[in-house]
């Protein structure tokens, strides 16, 4: 190797090349630590793109020669590492990569892709690939390489076989015979090859398009064909194990369609085809799908795979049993993506029906959003028995939880519903109180009306904020009956010496509710109130009159 002596300084070009390599190493490290949307990742990417740009200001290509422990640019050593670990030169060299060239028109995406290849854990993530295969498959537009393929196989035996064939080369006699036969042979009129029509090309195009789709469906069909054709128990059990692995694989790539299909076939088809003695062989599959580890895998998939089809995910979860409720509650606290959380909620809304008590354990979770989501799921299930668990959540420390609990309790229509909602009317949070009031309003029962009127006539009600009071009166107006009408007129008429302003606010709310009720009998009273010196009373009375007269 004709390279510069160790102490000789690098040329400017080599220094820039060295800079690129150091940049690649640094970026590789940062890419392993941070996700692509992280500012550190983005900065690292900016920095390496900049290093390439600087190099290409004066060069149109960066060609690096790879040796076991060093990398050379124009015969100058720009990287050296005698160690076996974390050695970039060795990383390339061990797979036979001898030269790599970056062209000046390389794009940012290509640089990022290239560095991401360098962080591949080939042993675990791509055991059938090496750096050369990946570069070959990726076929970068502006990165070329040269790899030595000679070290791959010893073909000496095959060379011998080929030499044997070559030795069998035809004799002069066979040539002569062929020549004489040719004199007698008929002259050929070759057929024109079959032309391809537009229709043929369309057929081929659509078939080729399908090559980019997952083939798990077809694979599953084959597995079951193999299963039904198996003639001995050992093979049958082996294929069932392959089915189990396939199912786990489908889950790991978010293909719940195929996973669901496998389970449907096992449940429906195998009933008809498989002898009773063999049916328990499928049990490990059901143990596997209900295991915490597979549910944890689902959590990871929900965060990483964007193209999950909700319908198939739901269909898959219908095969799970109640033991999956706790791990699903756990992943509800872990999953980051909105769609992922939505799917976990949908799953628990199905599996949770199998055991409300276990699902209600989610109410004890220390993450407020898990508690809130559990309440939401209980509401979706709609089993009134869950009110017993929800009652405690009315006094949860987090307002968002209490609000969800009130909303859910309101939807359950249990005998205790009104009791808990009435209790929530005195919650410290305005939002919770209003939610409770609305839930009571939605009940539309006599009892609910009574509870609401009691609240409106309670000693403390007058002191509430005007907006809140108005909301309550809006709710009571949902009952268009005499009792409510009389209550409102009574309230509008009510005068008191103390707390006049607060009382007038309450009267204004009654005027507002009478407007909603379209209560024409209240018109004289409203006209009178519209002349009040209190702004709220005056304006709400006028608004009600307006409603009643138009």
């Amino acid at each position: 190797m004709d390279k510069q002596s160790e102490n000789e300084p690098l040329s400017e070009e080599a220094r820039l090349a060295e800079d690129v390599i150091q940049g690649i190493l640094k970026t590789r490290k940062l890419f392993t630590l941070y996700p692509p949307n992280n500012p550190v990742y983005i900065n690292a990417s900016d920095s390496i793109v900049d290093k390439f740009r600087k190099f290409f200001e004066t060069n149109d290509r960066l060609s690096l020669k790879i040796f076991q422990n060093e990398i050379l640019f124009n015969n100058e050593q720009v990287y050296h590492n005698p160690e076996k670990s974390d050695n970039l030169a060795l990383f390339f060299f061990k797979d036979g990569l001898k030269e790599i060239t970056f062209l000046s028109s390389i794009t940012r995406n290509e640089i990022e892709d290239f560095i991401r290849i360098l962080i591949t854990d080939f042993e675990h993530d791509a055991p059938d690939d090496d750096i050369v295969t990946i570069l070959w498959e990726r076929n970068f537009e502006h990165i070329t390489y040269f790899a030595d393929e000679n070290f791959l196989t010893d073909v000496s035996e095959e060379e011998k076989a080929a030499d044997n064939v070559k030795e069998k080369v035809y004799s002069d006699d066979s040539l002569k015979k062929a020549y004489h036969d040719s004199l007698k042979a008929e002259t050929v009129q070759p057929d024109i090859p079959v032309p391809l029509s537009t229709d043929d090309i369309q057929h081929l195009s659509s078939d080729m398009e399908m090559q980019h789709q997952s083939k798990t469906d077809k694979f599953v069909v084959i597995l079951f064909e193999l299963l039904y054709n198996s003639t001995d128990l050992v093979t049958f059990k082996e294929i069932v194990r392959h089915i189990e692995s396939t199912l786990k694989y489908c889950v790991s790539i978010g293909d719940f369609r195929s996973a669901s299909h496998i389970l449907n076939v096992i449940k429906d088809d195998t009933k008809k085809r498989v002898h009773e003695d063999k049916k328990n062989i499928f049990d490990p599959i059901f143990t596997a799908i209900n295991s915490s580890s597979l549910i944890e895998d689902i959590g990871r998939v929900l965060d990483n795979v964007t193209a999950i089809e909700e319908g198939w995910f739901i269909s898959y979860t219908k095969h799970l049993n109640e033991t999956t409720i706790p791990p699903f509650i756990n992943i509800m606290g872990e999953v980051q993506s909105l769609k992922g959380r939505h799917l976990v909620i949908e799953a628990l809304a199905i599996i949770g029906q199998l055991n409300i008590k276990t699902l209600a354990e989610g109410l004890k979770n220390n993450k407020w959003h898990v508690v809130r989501d559990t309440i939401h799921i209980l509401g979706k299930i709609g089993n009134s028995a869950s009110i017993e668990y929800l009652a405690k959540s009315i006094s949860h420390a987090d307002e968002r939880v209490r609000r969800e609990a009130v909303k859910t309790i309101g939807s359950l229509k249990s005998p205790e519903t009104l009791l808990y909602l009435s209790k929530a009317l005195s919650d410290q949070s305005y939002a919770v109180r209003i939610t409770a009031a609305k839930a009571i309003g939605n009940m539309r029962t006599k009892e609910a009306k009574k509870a609401l009127i009691n609240e409106l006539t309670s000693k403390d009600f007058i002191s509430k904020d005007f907006t809140e009071k108005k909301e309550y009166f809006g709710i009571i107006a949902l009952w268009p009956d005499t009792e409510v009408k009389e209550f409102l007129i009574r309230t509008l008429k009510k005068r008191q010496f103390w707390k006049t302003i607060k009382n007038n606010e309450t009267r204004a709310c009654a005027a507002y509710a009478l407007g909603i009720l379209h209560e024409k009998d209240a018109l004289p009273l409203l006209q009178k109130a519209s002349r009040s010196g209190n702004k709220a009373l005056r304006e709400n009375s006028l608004a009600a009159i307006n409603k009643l007269t138009t």
């Binding site: 036979g96 028109s105 055991p127 059938d128 090496d130 295969t133 076929n139 070329t144 040269f146 393929e149 000679n150 791959l152 196989t153 010893d154 073909v155 035996e157 095959e158 060379e159 076989a161 080929a162 044997n164 064939v165 070559k166 069998k168 080369v169 035809y170 066979s174 040539l175 002569k176 015979k177 062929a178 020549y179 004489h180 036969d181 040719s182 042979a185 050929v188 070759p190 024109i192 090859p193 079959v194 391809l196 090309i201 081929l204 195009s205 080729m208 090559q211 077809k218 069909v221 084959i222 079951f224 064909e225 193999l226 054709n229 093979t235 082996e238 392959h242 692995s245 396939t246 694989y249």
Partner: protein, 468 residues
């Protein structure tokens, strides 16, 4: 320009240029068909030239238009491939149009390209001739690696072929021993073969025509792999899918290791019982592959074709299916390659194989029932009417072996030939001479044409002497 708009114009431009060359290879440059093709090409070219220069460059297996890669589309695939071959043959790396060009300029360019066909250094001929057209320049094909001499290329292709055979044998032995098999080396080997297919398809297909090896199964698997990848390449499949196809080709018959050897090597017809055993090899193969590899995307692409390669297009065949599902595209490709190679190979039960032409004709009889009719058409076009390895007699009474097809479908009856005997039927001394049947004499007549074909298997004549 928007990406989609660019793609559309770029594809149209390259496709129309291919059509110009194709048409001009058959007709005189002033023929109306050529002139129309030129006008069409100019309708794509000149609007771009009104604002910038246009460079059509061949980089690897892709054309680049002004430094942007132009994607393949099925619609134009055959014209693209034809033009790629033309560029390679002429060592043309790029054609640069500096400013708006006229019909006459294109005629000069096209005439120059066509007339350089039989020159020893075609690029230099084109380069010199274009000095008359200052608005058009050409660049020589970029040497990505060392330029391969014919000899070196042959050595590399032979090595890849034998490498694949050695690997197939190794995989078979490992599977027999119940060991796990890493696909790292097979994938590298397949990658190298695909690169060679892209560079010189004919030579690799030529390797598949030598059928005299002792161990049929290994070489058959390699042949199926190569023929499948060649067909896939014709269709413009991506490298990754081609690699899957190649691996599946190597592995498709792995299930035969579970068939008793005396059945496999039986020189006479099978009994019903033996036939039932033979029919199990696709299922055995699928199971064996499932045992040697963890499940992932590439496993699916191995198992499916292995299981389906004897299933017919109409879903008859074997193994018998309970649920009839359309045959996978890769399986259909492998089925065609498998049948073609089996028919053209000597087997224990059929010492004299079919000639390539008869094999193609037999395949054609199965179109739409046993074999995918659309893929079969592409395959037949790929193999050509005088398949590589065909023994032919020329009007000069010389005999020769076809070693390279003409990529222009209109000149498919004019392949490149290796002359093996003179007009008196005597073996030529020393190195065999290669001739191109598109070569014309000074009167514009073809120098040589094929008049007869013979079955090379009857005389044991093949390309081994030339390729091995």
């Amino acid at each position: 320009m928007e990406d989609k708009e660019f793609e559309k114009i770029a594809k149209g431009l390259i496709n129309s240029f291919a059509l110009v060359i194709k048409t001009a290879q058959i007709h005189h440059i002033n023929n109306v068909a050529v002139v129309n093709a030129i006008q069409k090409f100019l309708s794509f070219l000149n609007p771009i030239l009104s604002s910038e220069a246009v460079t059509i460059e061949l980089v690897g297996e892709f054309f680049h238009l002004n430094n942007s890669r132009v994607r393949y589309s099925m619609e134009y695939i055959f014209n693209f491939e034809f033009l790629i071959e033309e560029f390679k043959k002429k060592r043309l790396g790029a054609i640069i149009f500096e400013e708006i060009v006229q019909e006459e300029d294109i005629k000069t360019l096209v005439n120059t390209i066509i007339s350089s066909s039989h020159a020893e250094m075609p690029f230099q001929v084109i380069h010199k001739a274009l000095e008359k057209a200052p608005q058009i320049h050409v660049k020589e094909l970029r040497k990505i690696r060392d330029d391969h001499t014919e000899f070196k290329k042959k050595q590399l292709i032979k090595r890849s072929y034998l490498n694949a055979a050695a690997l197939t044998k190794d995989i078979t032995n490992r599977v027999k021993a119940g060991e796990m098999v890493s696909l790292k080396r097979p994938k590298r080997t397949i990658g190298a073969i695909i690169d060679q297919l892209i560079e010189d398809e004919s030579m690799l297909i030529g390797m598949t025509t030598i059928k005299d090896y002792d161990e049929y199964t290994h070489y058959h698997s390699v042949n199926v792999s190569i023929l499948s990848m060649a067909l896939g390449h014709k269709l413009g499949l991506s490298r990754k899918i081609l690699a899957n196809l190649g691996l599946a080709g190597l592995m498709h018959d792995i299930g035969k290791i579970q068939i008793p050897i005396d059945v496999l090597n039986k020189p006479t017809s099978f009994t019903d019982e033996e036939w039932q055993l033979m029919k199990q090899h696709p299922a055995h193969g699928a199971l064996l592959i499932l045992r040697i590899k963890e499940i992932d995307d590439s496993l699916l692409n191995l198992v499916i074709p292995t299981f389906e390669h004897h299933l017919n297009y109409d879903l008859t065949g074997y193994p018998k299916l309970r649920h009839k599902v359309k045959i996978d595209f890769l399986s259909s490709i492998i089925a065609i390659a498998d049948q073609y190679d089996a028919m053209t190979s000597a087997r224990v039960y059929s010492r004299v194989p079919l000639s390539p032409e008869r094999a193609l004709s037999t395949l054609l009889d199965k179109s739409g029932t046993q074999l995918d009719p659309y893929l079969l058409k592409v395959f037949i076009n790929m193999i050509g009417i005088y398949p590589i390895g065909s023994l032919i007699v020329l009007n000069s009474n010389e005999m020769g072996l076809v070693f390279e097809n003409n990529t222009n479908p209109d000149l498919i009856n004019r392949p490149r030939i290796l002359i093996i005997s003179n007009s008196a039927g005597e073996r030529l001394p020393g190195k065999n001479t290669a001739v191109d049947l598109t070569e014309k004499d000074e009167n514009g007549n073809y120098k040589r044409s094929i008049i007869k074909t013979l079955d090379p298997n009857q005389y044991g004549i093949n390309l081994a002497e030339y390729l091995l």
